[in-house]
Subunit: 438 residues, 2 copies
């Protein structure tokens, strides 16, 4: 009695497995592995007492408790949206009204991921083009591909996405008649996942100029993913890309509590142009008609009482020490190796670049050698969408200092360096051997 | 400096406003209104102490607190999925393994709505057919339409969706070559929204027979929305539709904590056939990679400690009294009116049927008369998807006894009865007038 096959939708057929789930399976199967791969946050500093206190206060009074346990709205709890806008003003150093933003423009989402997803859902049809940086945040790349979007990526340097290259791409799309397919430009503007690099301030302004210029048959929307903005350890605090959009027309600003407070609360938000609001709210109405109201009420207290700001300040110190530990370990253990790496001023990631000959991808010897040595990294090729004109680079690694402790950072980098050294030695030996035999 | 238009996706263009949001605006604008429309749950009995205790216990211990505040998995917290399966076994009176279900088949979702949505997302392409009952749960109808699905609906009677009519529909779709477009059959099997009626037990078995027979080129999936199953006040406890699918092939069983515990926690679950799991998990990975972990940990405790079962038992008593109050008020105030109504054995809704001439829809005089009298109902036409061969009936009303107190149920029904009486009198008067002048 077998049943006939289930007929999956085109979208389901386009939806690949997230490559990172295979890495998580590796980590689970090897509990002694030091994972420099996981995007998890620092476990020890999770705000247990702060969450306990806020929830206890909230639930101690029948009125506030019942309001939190009842249905909320699709847009989200108004005091939380107020607090989010207030925090944005504080980070920006400017009143929201100068950016034509009010509390109505803020929509609470199930993590920032849902916000990013909803934007793809309301904007993309198969064949549309989304521009990202190369490399880019791979979970969202997978989501974009599930909508049938074509990803065109723009090279990065130390200042983030290169605006000269973006201009070149837009020009060439215009010349070939494909500009009308460009719907979205996505970038992580602060301490990017996976490189740790931020978009330089002059490029933020230039990005808006380019989008205004090339929004011809229709508006091109920029998604500014500011997930790591709060995790600044040193260097200047840049104004957001959003701040260069004073009429609130082109830029969606996405934030999340997952990195700076608690991923288990799974709350984020998007700040939307007026004419995107209805579409996103209708779509979210169909998805879930509102994210968990109880947590929104708790987070609203956590922000209003200053607990959030205080926690973020402590977290910065903690992650700064981890970032320093990773950079020190890299400098110490990899000094003799032909690799370079970024020096992130914030966020959770460093990005390593190896010689082209050192293939870091999952099926290649280095990856297995690292597993055998007890260390896991994210192969850099996960972070690139294939491009017609360019092969995907296979000589990068993403290392995270978020979840691991300082001793494990040292030990993990040490294991990684040794595995790379052994791999390079063997590659060198076999290169010599193959020269001798040829 | 106006910007060009935003180019919305085909899907966004198909996504209508949920009609119920207009009703909510009415309710907000008229605070003295008694809303028999809202699908909200009883406010007074929300489990404030139970939630406070579970969260305090969870967050009191650093290990359990940190696990709850950290990222979870896309599939959901394993102990919660265990508890959900255990509760299902208890309601079913049969071990899950006799239905080929294990904890791996349970996926936790952001309310059951997200589970329903994900199934549409992985199964439907524009032009596909979904079969629902007429009437049906209107929020999901809107979501189905956003995927470009064609809704074909099947008449209900006191025993729920008529299986003879379903068979007739499948036969005629087969005869006209459209059977290959049928992807889903959706129904609320217990105390349906909007009628309060359940699918009769012999029809549950028959439904599976029909689906097996007509799954020819591909499998037709049944979604059993069991949102109200726990809210049983009297009458027999039926085995689920799922229980007639012993190899776990055809039926997805969806449940939620929103009705029987707390909608503000926004957690539900779907029990999936093996070969739907990957597709749903991949899609949910793109949506949010997991619902709020903190709440899943709390609910797991709430179930394991028996708090959930105890609360449900109390809730049944409370809603039973409200159901009784509504039926008594209807019998008392509408005895002289030419209306009939369902007598639900559970759930939150009663469904009224008026003479065809009494138009209950929002743009018609009765609705405004009710607003003016201070009572709000859900116009029945919201619950019907337009059919090629049949006009949408406009002589029904959905009344909810969920959120309102017993005095307000009496007063609300009294206001409604008076408004109907006045409307019928005026209709009668103008009918006589028009007869006299013609």
């Amino acid at each position: 009695l077998t049943a006939p096959d289930i007929p999956f939708s085109q979208k389901a057929q386009r939806t690949g497995e997230q490559p990172v789930s295979r890495l998580m399976a590796e980590a689970l199967a090897n509990p002694t592995l030091i994972s420099l791969a996981a995007g998890f946050v620092d476990h020890a500093s999770l705000p247990t007492e702060q969450a306990a206190r806020a929830l206890a206060d909230l639930l101690a009074h029948p009125d506030s408790a019942k309001a939190a346990l009842q249905y909320g709205t699709t847009r989200g709890y108004p005091p939380l949206r107020e607090a989010l806008l207030g925090r944005f003003e504080c980070l920006e150093g400017a009143p929201a009204q100068t950016l034509a933003l009010t509390v109505d423009n803020v929509v609470v989402t199930t993590g920032s991921q849902q916000g990013l997803y909803l934007l793809a859902d309301v904007l993309l049809d198969p064949g549309d083009i989304v521009i990202t940086s190369a490399p880019s945040y791979f979970v969202y790349t997978g989501a974009l591909q599930s909508f049938g979007a074509e990803i065109r990526s723009v090279e990065m340097d130390q200042g983030g996405m290169r605006m000269d290259r973006l201009e070149g791409l837009l020009k060439s799309l215009q010349a070939t008649g494909h500009l009308n397919r460009v719907k979205l430009i996505y970038l992580v503007s602060y301490y990017q996942n996976p490189t740790g690099l931020s978009l330089a301030p002059d490029r933020r302004q230039r990005l808006l100029e380019l989008v205004r210029t090339y929004s011809q048959s229709h508006r091109i929307v920029i998604i500014e993913d500011a997930a790591y903005r709060e995790l600044r350890y040193d260097g200047p605090a840049y104004p957001s890309v959003k701040s260069f959009d004073p009429k609130n027309q082109y830029v969606v600003h996405a934030m999340t509590f997952s990195k700076a407070f608690s991923p288990g609360m799974k709350i984020g938000a998007v700040f939307l142009p007026d004419d995107l609001l209805d579409a996103v709210l209708r779509q979210k109405g169909n998805h879930d008609f509102g994210s968990a109201n109880l947590i929104q009420h708790a987070l609203s207290r956590i922000m209003e009482t200053g607990i959030y700001a205080e926690h973020v300040a402590q977290l910065r110190q903690r992650y700064k020490a981890k970032r320093d530990a990773m950079l020190a370990a890299l400098a110490d253990r990899m000094a003799d190796l032909p690799l370079t790496w970024t020096a992130p001023a914030g966020g959770l990631y460093a990005w390593l670049t190896a010689p082209n000959a050192l293939d870091t991808s999952r099926g290649k010897p280095l990856f297995q050698r690292c597993i055998d040595s007890g260390v896991l990294y994210v192969p850099g090729d996960y972070c690139f969408a294939p491009q017609a004109d360019n092969p995907v680079p296979t000589n990068h690694m993403r290392l995270s200092f978020g979840a691991v402790g300082i001793p494990a950072i040292h030990e993990g980098v040490s294991r990684l360096a040794q595995a790379i050294r052994n791999q390079l030695d063997q590659g060198h030996a076999s290169a010599i051997a193959s020269t001798e035999t040829s």
